[in-house]
Amino acid sequence: MSEHIVSKKVYFVIFGALIAGTLLTYYVALQDLDFIFHGANTVVALTIAVTKATLVVLYFMHVRYSTRLTWVIVAAGIFWLMIMFALTFSDYFSRGWVSYPR
């Protein structure tokens, strides 16, 4: 597989999306979304951030055009990060759920 050169047009489109995402993040942060559910602001902010990060990884970092092996390595990184978060949270957030005799 030879190297894929991403066109300048693609870079500018992704750049526009990233700037739009930043402005949207800022605008949404000023609105009180707690009426939807408590913490909705954080969910929206993180959704936009994950979308922006995905665009950077796929296009600026060329992963979309990279080999399967690169895909596996990137996916493994995200997967292990999720393991770290899930196991730690399962401990912290469940403390005090059960009472036990001292």
Binding site: E3, K8, A29, L30, D32, T42, A53, V57, I73
Partner: protein
């Protein structure tokens, strides 16, 4: 035995036939060398994901423990400077991507222009970060006793149920995360000094530009970290501030 020798010799001859001055002897060709470099960089970045991940984990646990303190402390940060820095970093990611593009297409002049632009933007980010750090110093918000004789002190009113210690925790995490991020930016600028030096010498060509490519990966990764830091550190309590009136 003789056959074995012959094959080895043929392999060496084939290697030599495609030889490029930048091709290391343990790779068959530049394509294989480039892919190995990219994968190596990604393995390093996966380590970086876990490294920063630990800090994001600490952030989440303490924010969950002290939600009001975190929102109060976060609202004290200068959101205009934070937003400006977000834009500066995204533009710098674009210019870095273009520097890689011009390395791939063999324009030495444009490669240099965009590497230098990226460096200017990276420096701008650090200067703005420095201004923010100075503001925190002025307001006695450097946590613990990191500054001798100038311990952390919250001068405003404390919200109900929030202690000064809870607010200080936010600033520990703020300085740990933005400080580590800024350190990565400084290292990135150092790498770019190296790139500019060799780009000027015409070392990077459409056949060989792996250093520019993998330095780009690093720079974009640092941008991604900030994409998460900006909303999590600067914006988490803004909706409470504005919903009050």
């Amino acid at each position: 035995m003789a056959e074995g020798h012959a094959i080895t010799h043929e392999g060496a001859a084939a290697h030599e036939a495609h030889a490029h001055e930048a091709l290391a002897h343990h790779f068959d060709n530049l394509e294989q060398q480039r892919e190995a470099g990219t994968i190596g960089m990604w393995v390093f970045l996966v380590q970086e994901i876990m490294f920063f991940g630990g800090l994001f984990l600490a952030y989440t646990i303490y924010r969950w423990q002290f939600p009001v303190a975190f929102a109060t402390a976060s609202n004290h940060l200068d959101v205009r400077l934070g937003a400006t820095n977000t834009i500066v970093l995204i533009v710098s990611s674009l210019t870095m991507a273009l520097a890689v593009y011009y390395a791939q297409t063999g324009s030495r002049r444009n490669q240099l222009i965009f590497l230098l632009t990226t460096m200017v933007l990276g420096t701008t980010f650090l200067v703005i970060k420095g201004i923010e750090y100075y503001d925190k110093y002025r307001d006695h918000l450097i946590p613990g006793s990191l500054i001798p004789g100038r311990p952390f002190h919250w001068e405003n009113a404390l919200p109900v149920g929030v202690t000064e210690r809870n607010l200080e925790m936010f600033f520990w995490i703020y300085f740990a995360m933005t400080g580590l991020h800024a350190l990565h930016m400084i290292i990135g600028l150092g790498i770019m000094v190296y790139l500019v030096y060799y780009a000027r010498k015409g070392r990077f060509t459409p056949e060989y530009h792996a250093p520019v490519e993998i330095s780009g990966l690093y720079w974009h990764f640092v941008d991604i970290v900030w994409i998460f830091l900006f909303p999590l550190l600067y914006l988490l309590g803004r909706h409470l501030e504005h919903g009050g009136h």
